[in-house]
Every structure is written in C-alpha cells, then in structure tokens.
Symmetry: C2
Amino acid sequence: METTALRRVTVIGTGVIGTSIALAMRRAGAHVALADRDPAALAQARLMGAGAPLAAGDPPADVVVVATPPSTVAAVLRDAQDRGLGVVYTDVASTKARILAEAELAGCDVSAYVPGHPMAGRELSGPAAAHPDLFEGRPWALCPHPALPAETLRVAAELVRACGARARILAPDQHDRVVAEVSHAPHLVSAALAARFAAADETVLSLAGRGLRDTTRIANGAPVLWCDILEHNADQVAAVLEDVVRDLAEAASALRASGRLRSGSLADLLTRGNQGRRHIADRVA
Amino acid sequence: METTALRRVTVIGTGVIGTSIALAMRRAGAHVALADRDPAALAQARLMGAGAPLAAGDPPADVVVVATPPSTVAAVLRDAQDRGLGVVYTDVASTKARILAEAELAGCDVSAYVPGHPMAGRELSGPAAAHPDLFEGRPWALCPHPALPAETLRVAAELVRACGARARILAPDQHDRVVAEVSHAPHLVSAALAARFAAADETVLSLAGRGLRDTTRIANGAPVLWCDILEHNADQVAAVLEDVVRDLAEAASALRASGRLRSGSLADLLTRGNQGRRHIADRVA
C-alpha cells in the first residue's frame, strides 16, 4: 500500500477510472473530492468510500483529475481552471495530441495541465466496477509538452506512483501512435471478430471455446465511449487497421492458393505472431 | 471425477491433447497404452502417469485415439487398423471433412472411425503441458458420417464423457465451417495482431496492457501445426477472413472519413461487437 505527499485530490467524472483513482488516493491517505454531472454515479462513488462531493468552499486540490470522455476534456478542464479547483490538472483520456490542442484552443492554462492516460481499463464501466488496485503495476502514460514545467510533471507522477502504477513519459503524438497499436486498433479488430457472433446460431456457439472468449474480451467496451476515443485518434488507428487488413487479405489469398506458396506465407505470419506474442507476454503480467 | 465403462484405451501421439486424454482416462479407471514416434515425448507422458507404452501382445483397445497432426491422421489410422489395435477409432484433429475423405482414400475401415475434435487447447504444446482436467466442461465435437453405426458413435461419446467434456454432434463439413468461425480464423487474426509486435521497440511495449495480452494469447500456437490445420480447412477459413477484412477495411475508411458517416459505421460495428461478445461470454466460462 502506497502513501502519498498529495493532500488533496479532486476527481471530476466518477466512472470506473475516476472512481478507481479516487479509491486508490483515499487509501494512500489523500483527501478526495468528487464531482459528476450524473447524481447517481456520484452517489455510488461516495457510497463506495471514494470521497466526499466537491463543495463550494473546498480549498484548491494539489491535483485535479479530469476523468471524463475524450471529447469533453478540454471544456471540463477550462471550467475547472476558471473555478480555481486546483494547482495541477491531469486527465485520463485515451488520446492526447488532439485534447492538448483543444485545451489550448479553449483557452486553458496548459502550463498546469499534464496530459495523462492510465493503461488499465475494465470491460465493465461505471463507478460500481471501480477498484483501488486497478492500476497496480500497470503503465500510466504522462505526456509532457513544451509549456509544461518539470515540477508540474512531477506532481502528476506522484499521483501515478500513489495509485501503484508506473509512469511512462511520451510526447503526446508518440503516445497516440503507440496506443493506436496496443489498444485502439486491437479494440476494433476484437469487435470485428465478436460482431460475427451477434446473430450466431446455437450450433456455432456450441463449439466456442476459450480462445474466442479471450480474443473478443475487449469487444465489450461501451460503443459511445469507444467511438469518441477512435474519432480522436482516427488517422493513427486507420493506419494500423490498413496494415492489419493487408496482412489478413494476404493470408486469405494464401489460403485460396495452393502448395508451397500458401504454406510459406502463412508460416511467416504465424512465426511473426509467435515472436510478437512472446514480447507482449514478457511485458504484461 | 468420472469413472468409465471403457477398459482399454490406446493413445497414439503423446502431445498435450493425447497425454491429457490419457491422464483423464487413467483417472477414470481405464488401462491406457501410449505410442509416439518421439521417444522423449513418450517417456515424458509415461513419467506423468499417463499410461504404459503400447506393447506387441496388448489386447485390442475399446477405443484408439489418434492424437497426431491433421495431415498424418489418415496414415496413422490405417496403420493402427492394419495392426488391429482397437475396436473403435477416433482422432482429435481440428478439421474433419478432409481427414474423413483421406481415411476413405487410404483404405481405412471408416465404419469404425468416429471423427472427433475436443475444443480445448493450450497455448503450450507437448506432454509436459498436459492435464487431466483439460477437457472439463469443454465442448468436444463428434462427427458421424453415413458409414458410422450408432453403437460406434456411442463408444466415442463415452470417451468424451469420461474426459469430463460435452459431446456435440455435427456433420464433418458443418464442423469445419463452425471451427473456421470460432477457432481457425480468430487464430490468424490474433497472429496478425501479435505479428505487429515481433519487432516492436521499447516505447511501444511499455504501454502494452491486458487487452492486447488477451487478444493475442492464441497467437502462441505452434506454426507448423497451425499451418497444417489451416491448410486442411483453407476455403472455409479464407471465407471468414475475407468477411473480417471487409469489416475492418470499412472501419478504416470510416476513420479516414469524417463526421456522421464515420461515427454511424463505427458505432454499428462496436454495437454488434458488444452483442456477439455477450453471446460468447454467456457460453464460455
């Protein structure tokens, strides 16, 4: 269990990520204030011991965490800064470059804004699915930009550490390229596989096994949130998907061909698949 | 723990599947004889208590399980029948229609052959990865054909039951269409995703999370075995892959487009992904 030098944290958006951060920071000893435009989500988070509702007279927080969907972050950040809710601000959205640009356009003070992204989700959403251990040992991207003082980045890194996660420092556009590879494109691929079973009959489902179960697990994500994420990282995700499409179309052609041509191409893809899988398994517990 | 009316079972091929069947049948009370052309694999299976090596004077088994790769099944079956190793014969290969045709061509007595396929694998291979619980609650396809007497099918179904699995009865070509959907095409899709990380740099791997880990788990399968499986079911797998390629290419186009056109198409795919995932999760523990 971590303890933290951060005394006050405010979390705006008590979904699964925001509430998990709140629970982790409470456990680490911080005072946590909560806000959500949905009174039911706020009440649920409060009931779980995630913190007290943000009140008008509260002193400014050391860190304000904006844990709302990507398309809302800039406006929520601007509003929070206008209200003087905190000293340092961060967010948890899955894309970074466009949100930083939107924050600049919205007139935010970006020198106090550390773009962040914990690489820990759940297939479930909402505060009831939150858990203080959600970030334990997981990577959490922090994306410094030219306007950001080192001391401000350090405050956000302390939040990450206190949540049990490992800070990874990347530039915003580098972050977006990487998450298109490791998260956004795989999400669409998993959805495309799962979608084939939307109207599957009993015979097909009767042979479904654990391989299919695992391959389609992330297809359970909320479509509205994921459309938002994917639109924010559209070109990067499209580029990865186009590569995957090319590899799979080649595999299909190889299967339609015959003999040595076929097996050479398939064996190459499967062998590279083994190598890639080994790298991933070595890194992700 | 199951007990069984089968007294003698012979397993040819002591890989992960064959050895797991041997362990399950030993536990159920059967005498198990083992054969493998690799002396090390045979010794390992024996060491694990999977049975005794098949000997020249052994009486015929109630069931002979051919647990060798798809392309070898017909020849191994013919040889086993020539040697009078058993009364009923079955196999565990991942494709069925072509193997049945090959067995007929090879001059096997197919009236004693029940094409079978346990839907339980491990990403690990070899006898050391075997476990008697591997089939517990898993589907196990049995594929009757016109030459097969009902009593012969019943003997194979008793093997399935004694292994703790659930027999699913499908025609061979129906089986092949279904496994292309639930297993073979997902394997190639998972391999294509994983292959992108064969040469991934540290930055990319630093943000890899559990979603990517699960989506690529099955990409760990042995390429030689999987080439064999895929070639045996080439047209069915190609047809599924071509559909997946079309869906993903559409998603990429939607991402390259803008506004309402984009989000409508993506939301539809993600929503169908949710539905399909629900059906899969409802069926696979």
